[in-house]
Amino acid sequence: MCGIIGVIDRTKARMDGSSIKRALSLMNERGSGEGAGYVAYGIYPDYPDCYAIHVFFDNLIEPKSKVDEVLQKWGRIVHQEEIPTYEQPGLKKEHVPWRYFYKPYTDFIVGSNNPAEDIVKHLVMAVNSTIPGALIFSSGINLGVFKAAGWPEDVADFYRIEDYKGYIWLAHNRYPTNTPGWWGGAHPFNLLDWAVVHNGEITSYGTNKRYVESNGYKCTMSTDTEVVAYLFDLLGRRHGLPSEMVVEALAPHFWDEIDRMPEKEQKLQRTLRLTYGPALMNGPFAIVVATSKGIVGFTDRIKLRPLVVGENGSRLYISSEEAAIRVMDPEVNTIYMPRAGEPVVGRVVQ
């Protein structure tokens, strides 16, 4: 059991983190104090073309010098600093959160449609699997993940998330069941523009992990949700599928439902299921995924985890509990429960 909530302002009006902190704290019962986190899009407008690379360092000597070295080989560090944190009595600081604003040299690789993103992805995988004491947990442009092992309020106060303003926020309160709670295992999980929060279990993790690893990803965070971020990056960014179609590949329709579809749609759904069989996610889950362009929420096909949607004007909310939405926005006027497996999409309007 975990608690999730996400919000998008489709006009890109920015909200500070204080209201999502209240919403997540309302769902304290869904966590165990072993992991909480937030991601916000639009928080670094001063660095609009830099990858914001957030790293947990065990210390600032060996791991950091190695990360500095590999980053400087592949690009330019425009600015770097320790992420400001504020001591909390209920939270033990186990890592030093650090951020780099970074521009990769795009002429270093060939054969890529997007060399900058492929270099950053390569760096994330390389650092996380080869540099002990360093973990890159956030690597997108103009967005940032803030997470730790603790309760939602403590983690929010540790980073003072009310000091950040974003037009998309996702938040997660963790109740670890299958793997230990630790800073890197807290949600959201992020790679490049993708961020994921997840309540449940991916029981197909083994199959999904082998599939993403055969496509150049490395799972290093000892928890199943990481694989969802890589699946979205692979299908959404590299294969170019729209987010609704990614959801259809990960949580496909039942065969008997496909049999009743019009012929053209049947053909598409069959092709998706056959092509992306190893990406199909089994098990109980409710997931919200964000990119800079919008958010999408969905559950497993037989709805073994809760998901509620709320709307108020330009704002769309997706959460485990209705009360959490109402705490964030007492004026919310539409509340509904989407069907199992059905993607709920909120897109930025330009």
Partner: protein
């Protein structure tokens, strides 16, 4: 009758439930709780003759193990109101989340709006104890999953087709599910079968239909016919051969 009003704004459920218990112990028969938002376990295990009006959206497991009181919710509910409830009544004037009336063993849960997935999962009955779940609107999939007893009634008010989600009565081995209008065969779960809704059934259920309609202030007359589908167990052991060999 003594009435007590509690402002629950920002209050945790533990002190809230303590206040409710103390009030009931001191003889209060009517409690109004304002500004409820997300407080779980309200009226859990509560016994006695008391009416609790909840203004707002209570958190999960409202009235769990409750035996006797009446809870009236002016708002929506989260998951599992009436969880393993023993006796009494819950009236929800909004909609509710998943697993409404989960494992309920007695009493009544009335929902004016819609419910989520797995409503009435594993409801049961024994002797005189026969729990009832009535839904004014519609329900998502797996209604009455593993149902072992009791009655689920869905009226489909405001919906052209009452139920459109799959797995109705999946694994049902006791009790009955009554649905307004027709139900497509493909929506039936494993172990569920449709039977005709007879005049006898209408006679038996009309007091319940009337009471529900009065509670949610809807005219009961249009519902007093046999245009219902009755779903019952195909056998008392739908999964007899699934995990064991005979």
């Amino acid at each position: 009758m003594e009435t007590m009003t509690i402002d629950a704004k920002g209050m945790h459920y533990t002190p809230l439930n303590r206040m409710i218990r103390e009030a009931v112990a001191s003889g209060v028969k009517d409690i109004v709780i304002d500004n409820v938002l997300g407080q779980r376990f309200i009226a859990n295990g509560l016994r006695g003759d008391v009416r609790i009006t909840i203004n707002g959206v209570p958190g999960g497991d409202l009235g769990m193990f409750m035996s006797g009181p009446e809870c009236i919710v002016r708002g929506d509910c989260e998951h599992a109101p009436g969880n393993t409830m023993d006796n009494g009544t819950i009236v929800i004037h909004g909609s509710a989340g998943d697993a409404v009336a989960h494992s309920m063993r007695g009493g009544r849960v009335f929902v004016r709006g819609n419910i989520g997935y797995r409503g009435g999962i594993h409801m049961k009955e024994y002797s005189q104890k026969r729990p009832v779940l009535v839904i004014g609107g519609t329900s998502h999939a797996f209604l009455g999953e593993y149902m072992a007893g009791g009655i689920i009634l869905v009226l489909g008010i405001g919906h052209e087709t009452t139920l459109e989600d799959r797995g109705i009565g999946s694994g049902i081995h006791g009790g009955e599910i009554i649905i307004r209008g027709d139900v497509e065969d493909r929506l039936l779960g494993v172990g569920a079968r449709k039977v005709r809704f007879t005049d006898e059934d209408l006679k038996r259920l009309s007091p319940l239909i009337k009471e529900f309609c009065e509670r949610i202030e809807v005219d009961p007359v249009p519902f007093m016919d046999t245009n219902y589908t009755r779903i019952v167990p195909a056998s008392s052991r739908p999964f007899a051969g699934k995990y064991t060999w005979e």
